[in-house]
């Protein structure tokens, strides 16, 4: 998806350097995709319970799985802080939980190694449940206690929407990987 192992900058030809600079936007694709999913979450659907799937969190989780190097916890923290600003929640609730969730996905990747997509779904189900259950205590810590049980609706719809989000992000990754720079020289 990004150019693999670029040569040291001093060894690049001017043409290579230009191509390399023009391809650096690819580093921001996971963050941008997650932010777009976050804005998509603000669609004014007439839902009377918080049943909109947490697309932003799922985007962050997918990229933490597909490209762990491009979705570090600090970037997830920034996206979570933006989510807090847009949702009108105390700044830090989503930010903390996004960072923790990214760390959990990294640890899961290290511990379990290669595995099938059903197993991913299982892990993500657990992470999303942890997110729903931890939101209440963090909101209470910020001085705005809220009932947590309605968030279980969101958990259900998020679990159902996971394959779609994975497909979308994987399609983005495949599309970009096909046009990634290759440093092949004779």
């Amino acid at each position: 998806m990004i150019a693999a192992n670029p040569p040291p900058a001093l060894l690049m030809t001017p043409d290579e350097r230009r191509r390399w600079l023009l391809s650096t936007w690819r580093y921001g694709v996971p963050a941008l995709a997650s932010v777009l999913l976050l804005v998509l979450m603000l669609a004014p659907l007439p839902l009377s319970v918080p049943a909109m799937p947490h697309l932003a969190l799922m985007g962050v989780l997918v990229w933490a799985m597909l490209q762990p190097g491009l979705m570090p916890p600090w970037l997830a923290f920034c996206i979570g802080a933006l989510a807090d600003l847009l949702f009108g929640q105390p700044v830090g609730v989503n930010a903390t939980l996004f960072a923790v969730a990214t760390g959990v996905m990294r640890a899961a990747g290290r511990v379990f190694g290669r595995h099938g997509s059903l197993f991913d779904w299982l892990i993500v189900t657990g992470v999303l449940l942890g997110f729903a259950l931890l939101t209440g205590p963090l909101m209470a810590l910020a001085g705005r206690p809220t009932p947590v049980l309605p968030l279980l609706w969101q958990w259900l719809t998020s679990v159902a929407a996971w394959p779609l989000v994975v497909r979308l992000c994987a399609a983005i990754q495949r599309k970009l990987a096909a046009s990634a720079l290759l440093w092949r020289h004779g």
Binding site: V49, A51, M52, G88, V91, G103
Partner: protein
């Protein structure tokens, strides 16, 4: 290859270990920063309200543009659906119209009497003033906070604590206002408390949101009467934000300890909403500087201090005893 690939030497392994340690420390620091931010928000809930309004200023106008074609498609679908079952609906409506006309005749009589009595008593009432009419541009239906975004802001005359009212009933009140966007606290948010009155019994209380489709009627005081299913709940006008008489909902479960109210209007139903001026002006609670009898020299004004006030500029309510007696 024209450069040397990195060899897996001891230094490289040690560098990997160091990088892993650094990344773990950074992750821990990030999580700690998040918890500290939460504590800051607990002490000062208005933290980052400027950032918040800046973010909504970008997103709300964008969504108001995006949703326009969707609204058009929904309207087309609704127009097509209207043709089905038109005859039976017309019969039903005619029957309802007869009933409504009968009720209107009695109401006209009462209205005239009320007008006469109010004139006799010289009642002065504030009027409802519409500030803006708009659609709901975006909503946070994926979060514990139940808010909506409007694509109008302080440029259109909006400010904090203005009631937002839909065609069928109350929607909420404005919470944060940016230049081109405003955040609306919906009735269903756990923070929302609306002073209401039960129309049949005259009991007053608070309609409390709880992140569910229904509201809870709490702190009910007034005559000891049992509520029944179908009792109408309207705003009472207490508190000065919401004008009195706006429909809030209907009792669907009259338990003694916590009656459940179904909302009169779906807050995100997609129709137009009006933003009105607050019913009664909220008292100014900003800290004020001391009163001066003479102009204050420029040197005495320090940065951050409230502006000095001149006694001659202040308006004091004249005490009653100072007025001459009527006869």
């Amino acid at each position: 290859m024209d450069w040397t690939p990195t060899p897996r030497r001891l230094t490289a392994i040690r560098r990997d270990q160091n990088l892993a340690l650094v990344s773990a420390v950074v992750s821990g620091g990030v999580i700690a920063a998040g918890l500290i931010l939460l504590l800051v928000a607990r002490v000062n809930p208005d933290t980052a309200s400027g950032l918040r309004t800046a973010a909504t200023d970008v997103v709300a106008p964008a969504w108001s543009v995006v949703r326009a074609p969707i609204d058009g498609a929904a309207k087309l679908a609704g127009d097509i659906g209207d043709y089905f079952g038109a005859v039976s609906r017309a019969d039903h409506l005619e029957a309802e119209l007869d009933k409504a006309n009968a009720a209107l005749r009695t109401a006209r009589n009462g209205q005239r009497e009320l007008w006469q009595l109010k004139r006799l008593m010289a009642v002065r009432e504030p009027t409802r003033i519409v500030v803006a009419t708009t659609r709901i541009a975006a909503a946070t239906s994926g979060s514990v906070a139940r808010t909506a975004l409007l694509a109008v802001g302080s440029n259109d005359g909006l400010s904090r604590d203005m009631p937002v009212i839909g065609a069928d009933g109350l929607v909420g009140r404005t919470l944060e206002v940016g230049r081109r966007s405003a955040r609306v606290l919906l009735l269903t948010d756990p923070l929302s408390r609306v002073p209401v009155i039960v129309q049949r019994t005259g009991q007053i209380g608070l309609a409390m949101g709880r992140n569910l489709p229904t509201l809870l009627l709490t702190d009910r005081i007034g005559p000891e009467l049992q509520l029944v299913v179908g009792d109408r709940i309207v705003t009472s006008g207490d508190g000065g934000v919401y004008p009195p008489g706006v429909p809030v909902g209907m009792v669907v479960d009259p338990q003694a300890d916590g009656p459940v109210i179904r909302l009169a209007t779906s807050p995100l139903g997609g129709g137009f909403v009006t933003v009105e001026r607050g019913w009664l002006p909220i008292p100014d609670t900003q800290p004020k500087g001391p009163l001066f009898d003479a102009p204050v020299p420029v040197e005495a004004r320090t940065k951050g201090a409230p502006p000095p006030r001149l006694r001659s500029n202040e308006e004091f309510p004249r005490p009653r005893s100072a007025q001459p007696p009527a006869n």
